[in-house]
């Protein structure tokens, strides 16, 4: 299968079930919305080293937020249920509570699984905090030097999907980067997904484990490293000199598949030789995204 001359490999991306929460942050202006959002989603690329994967889902106009102010929705994901509660408390407490004019709301009100966030952060109020129940939901008003920080008591939690991916195999680094930027831009506006890596792009795709150090859980994906073509079992076709990966997490498999389709289509452009995907033989992750099926073609 080819799209505009770019070969779509007959392979699949292997993804994992994760726990996801959607956080809505509002503030007086987008300046402070973004300030909080960037801090909250900082150092949250991979659970391998960050314990959490997070990203901005989209900016919200004032008419779409609970308090009628500018906002942003963020997806934050972990491997385990308990871990999600801990990470939410840490991150909201350190990056949103501290940021001028912000408030923080649950973006998954219909999710039956709930984790306490405001219920833990309220203790920062040192007994001066107040709670208010509005439309059946409890909120905590935590006094701060600026005024008050408003945070919802509990946040919804769903089973999401993490680790959707595809690899852009290009003739050179410029072509790879241009295609990756186009893919990331086209995917960033889609609902229900985040691209947790810098700019939505990964240059250091990993394989499970290490050839030399047993304690390492991940190491460089040598099969896709152009500089190692001569010294390892390469997966790179002739003429490929640079590879970039797009990793996408989402609230469900359909959102991931839809985003991958959009991204792959955008990445199929001049200088790109092939599109591939990362997997572990299908043994680790329950979600398999077949590239050709996603792109509307038949697997060979």
């Amino acid at each position: 299968m080819k799209i505009r001359g770019v070969f779509i490999e007959d392979t699949f991306a292997e993804a994992f079930t994760m726990r996801v929460a959607r956080i809505v942050i509002t503030a007086r202006s987008y300046r402070w919305v973004r300030a909080a959002a960037l801090k909250l989603t900082g150092f949250a690329t991979s659970v391998i080293g960050c314990k959490v994967e997070a990203g901005i889902e989209r900016e919200l106009p004032a008419k779409e937020t609970p308090d009628g102010r500018p906002g942003v929705s963020i997806l934050i994901m972990t491997m385990g249920k308990d871990d999600l509660a801990k990470r939410l408390i840490e991150r909201v407490g350190q990056t949103v509570l501290t940021c001028p004019t912000t408030a923080c709301y649950d973006g998954l009100p219909d999710a039956p699984d709930r984790v306490g966030v405001g219920s833990a952060l309220r203790f920062f109020g040192d007994g001066f905090q107040m709670s208010k129940v509005i439309a059946g939901q409890r909120f905590w008003r935590i006094p701060v030097m600026e005024g008050e920080f408003l945070v919802q008591e509990k946040f919804g939690m769903l089973k999401g999907v993490g680790g959707g991916n595809f690899l852009i195999l290009a003739r050179n680094a410029d072509a790879a980067l241009e295609a990756a930027e186009a893919a990331a831009d086209s995917m960033a506006v889609l609902p229900g997904v985040i691209l947790p890596f810098p700019g939505g792009v990964v240059r250091s795709g990993s394989k499970v484990g290490s050839r030399r150090i047993k304690s390492m859980i991940a190491s460089t994906n040598d099969a896709f490293c152009p500089t190692l073509r001569a010294v390892t079992v390469t997966a790179l076709p002739e003429g490929v000199n640079s590879v970039l990966e797009i990793v996408v997490n989402g609230v469900d498999a359909n959102s991931i598949a839809s985003a991958m389709k959009t991204g792959i289509d955008a990445a199929c452009r001049g200088g790109v030789v092939a599109i591939s995907a990362g997997n572990y033989g299908g043994k680790l992750g329950p979600h398999h995204f077949y590239l050709r099926k996603i792109m509307g073609g038949a697997a060979e």
Partner: protein
């Protein structure tokens, strides 16, 4: 589309009637016929049934609308725990007495002690939402523990007396001693208010939670919340300092 049960008063009430048993406890799934059997008490004639005074029609959908002059209907919605109750006009004393849930929406005036605690009891409203679109008599929301009381017209003296917690929103003019002896309650005044002397001014700020609360009141009950209420500043008074001092009066200010 049905709008729940409609109860029309057959003829004007010429004596006071105690409605405290009519909507107390579970009622939302009862048919018109079953609701007709709910007891009430007439001041002179003694025990009666709701169906003796009202014609009931419609399907149970968790909603009931009461139509007629109900100025003599006391304790309407007392002990309410569920459903939506709409009253077209005025009601008598102690409407929503010790309400614990559901919505009671009174289109006209309410007599004294709406949403308050029954005499001899410590707690008034413990949940739900009580909307009075007209004026409310003295001691509305007295000893309320949770829930929301909204008064669009004039709120009489000692509204929110001895509140334990919960929220009172006042759109119109208010009497004296509003929030007196409150422990943790919140009184939000969108009109002029003079806090009791046992309240202390804290600051002037923009409480974000009021944007949620007032937006909900505007959207759910179509109450006249203006942009100035959402975007404006509020004086915060802490009190009652003669009690815990963890309550507040949030008074909207044009400045």
């Amino acid at each position: 589309m049905s709008s729940g049960i409609v109860a029309k008063l057959k003829e004007p009430l010429r004596q006071r009637a105690d409605f405290s048993q009519v909507l107390a406890g579970s009622w939302a799934t009862l048919s018109a016929r079953e609701l007709s059997d709910r007891p009430l008490s007439l001041e002179r004639d003694g025990d009666a049934r709701l169906g003796d005074l009202f014609e009931l029609d419609g399907q149970p959908e968790g909603r009931i609308r009461l139509v007629g002059e109900l100025d003599h209907a006391d304790r309407l919605g007392a002990g309410l725990i569920e459903g939506e109750v709409t009253v077209d006009g005025n009601v008598g004393r102690e409407a929503g007495l010790a309400q614990a849930g559901g919505r009671l929406d009174i289109g006209g005036d309410a007599g004294p002690r709406a949403g308050a605690a029954p005499l001899g009891f410590k707690r008034g409203m413990t949940g739900g939402e009580l909307i009075v679109r007209g004026s409310a008599g003295p001691e509305a929301g007295a000893a309320m523990r949770r829930g929301l009381l909204v008064i669009l017209g004039a709120a009489s003296d000692r509204t929110g007396l001895g509140m334990i917690a919960g929220t009172v929103v006042l759109f119109g003019p208010v009497g004296t001693d509003v929030g007196l002896w409150s422990k943790r309650g919140s009184v939000v005044a969108l009109g002029r208010i003079t806090p009791p002397p046992t309240y202390s001014y804290a600051c002037t700020f923009q409480p974000v939670h009021l944007r949620l609360l007032l937006t909900r009141l505007r959207d759910t009950y179509r109450l006249p919340v203006r942009p100035r209420h959402l975007n404006g500043f509020y004086h915060r008074y802490s009190g009652d300092m003669a009690e815990l001092g963890k309550g507040e009066i949030l008074a909207w200010t044009a400045k």
